[in-house]
């Protein structure tokens, strides 16, 4: 079975000389949900930005059988939906509905159809009632849900979520976990939240200083690296 994502020997160095990735190998199969664990600055977000061509390092990155390059970036971005860590970065249109429809319109989908799909995605994320509001009037949790709706509307084959539970209250986190579990897409979740990863992912990968140090079940990785806040 062909993997949806195949990364081999990926290295990346930022302009200031920081070597963020040092030969990362990774595979994602259809329908799989993988948690990326690791300390801040271990290369998780940098790695995620390679999956839809926002960054280009050296090594092999293949998505749905296509090698990621500037030539294929446009097609790749239809396959990989990336939800950014900071929702304010992602929301820039005057209203919530226009923001969710932004990606659809860029794909050449007719405005009426884009509107329908954007409303359906907002409904799924529990934000339909806010569709006419300006994104900057929303709470941090609401912004996160709108950002996720903006990606769900695109119906990508792979979802990549960078710290999806940031700013979400516990009911919001539960609702998001439920939503993600019911989505058929393959998912990569960058998170520090072990309970959330346990609820949504079948596998975990641990990043340390730009390399994949270990992979296994979420429980085994969390135990091995002490990746859980102790509750007494």
């Amino acid at each position: 079975m062909q993997p949806l994502v195949e990364v081999a020997g990926l290295t990346y160095r930022y302009e200031d000389g920081t070597e963020a990735l040092k030969g990362v190998n990774f595979r994602l199969m259809a329908g799989e949900s993988v948690a990326l664990f690791g300390a801040n600055g271990s290369g998780k977000s940098t790695f995620a930005r390679h999956l839809n061509g926002l960054l280009t390092g050296t090594g092999k990155v293949e998505v749905c059988g296509m090698e990621v390059s500037s030539r294929t970036a446009s097609s790749i971005r239809r396959k990989v939906g990336l939800v950014f860590q900071d929702s304010d970065t992602q929301l820039f249109m005057p209203t919530v509905l226009e923001d969710v429809a932004f990606g659809l319109l860029n794909q050449g989908i007719a405005p009426d159809e884009a509107r329908k799909r954007a409303m359906a995605a907002l409904d799924r994320a529990g934000m339909l009632s806010a569709m006419s509001k300006a994104p900057y009037h929303l709470s941090a949790g609401e912004k996160k849900r709108v950002a996720i709706a903006g990606i769900l509307a695109l119906e990508p084959e792979i979802l990549v979520l960078d710290e999806p539970t940031t700013f979400l209250d516990p009911p919001g986190q539960r609702a998001l976990a439920e939503l993600l579990r019911n989505l058929p897409q393959a998912k990569i979740l960058i998170t520090h939240d072990t309970p959330f990863a346990l609820a949504t992912c079948t596998r975990a990968v641990f990043f340390r200083e730009g390399v994949v140090e270990a992979e296994g079940t979420v429980r085994s990785i969390a135990d091995r690296f002490g990746w859980e806040f102790p509750v007494h």
């Binding site: 446009s74 820039f92 005057p94 226009e98 319109l105 794909q107 405005p111 884009a114």
Partner: protein
């Protein structure tokens, strides 16, 4: 006003700007009539008229400098004309921008022949102004919570503000690319030029032309 197609406002805006720019002797009459038309526009659009008239002054620091040079070189009439014309032009632009969704407005401007690259730059400048304002607000809150900021610290903070804004702008650009942005904002509701829009545009253009002719005649 808000429901009208952006083109129905852009065409009268163009006529208004030309009419205003070319009037000389009849300027006082033209200005009085223009203020009336613009005030009626703001009222019809249910916009706060006082704040809107205040916003029009945004151009005065720039045109005021040129007017001051004219005044100092012995031409106060020209200086006054420059101030009045620039203020009323800005006010008209404020009315159009405040009553038209930006993507639709830019789409119409593109159809009217404005180069797409120029429009994209304008849109991104508009977006990034909010980015800078947001970053400035965060920094101000952080400074106030630690007891305020001295003049020297504030001067240093400006450099930090631009560095932070640049970083944020780069992140926004990445987020736009990630959702397939290819250099053009597509409107969700494509503008549709209806009969009502045509009548509205014709009505405003006629009013402006009548005002322009009457002003010159009265002078």
């Amino acid at each position: 006003m808000h429901r009208r197609d952006p083109a129905a406002k852009l065409l009268p805006l163009g006529v208004f700007l030309v009419a205003l720019a070319t009037v000389h002797r009849g300027l006082p009459w033209m200005a009085a009539g223009a203020v009336t038309i613009l005030a009626a526009g703001f009222l019809a659009a249910r916009l706060p008229i006082g704040r809107a008239f205040l916003r029009g002054t945004v151009v005065l620091p720039f045109t005021g400098t040129v007017a001051l040079i004219s005044w100092l070189s012995g031409d106060p009439a020209r200086a006054l004309e420059l101030l009045v014309k620039s203020y009323l032009s800005a006010l008209a632009v404020v009315l159009v921008v405040a009553t038209s969704p930006l993507p639709g407005l830019f789409r119409r401007l593109e159809l009217l022949g404005i180069p797409p690259f120029l429009l994209m730059v304008a849109q991104l400048v508009y977006r990034y102004l909010f980015v800078i304002a947001g970053e400035a607000a965060h920094m101000r809150t952080a400074a106030m919570s630690r007891g305020g900021m001295s003049f020297r610290a504030a001067a240093g903070a400006v450099a930090v503000l631009f560095a932070r804004s640049h970083e944020r702008a780069a992140a926004i650009h990445q987020a736009m690319l990630a959702r397939g942005f290819q250099g053009q904002f597509m409107p969700l509701l494509p503008p549709r030029f209806s009969t009502a829009d045509a009548l509205f545009a014709a009505g405003v253009i006629s009013a402006v032309l009548v005002l322009r002719l009457a002003s010159e005649r009265a002078a």
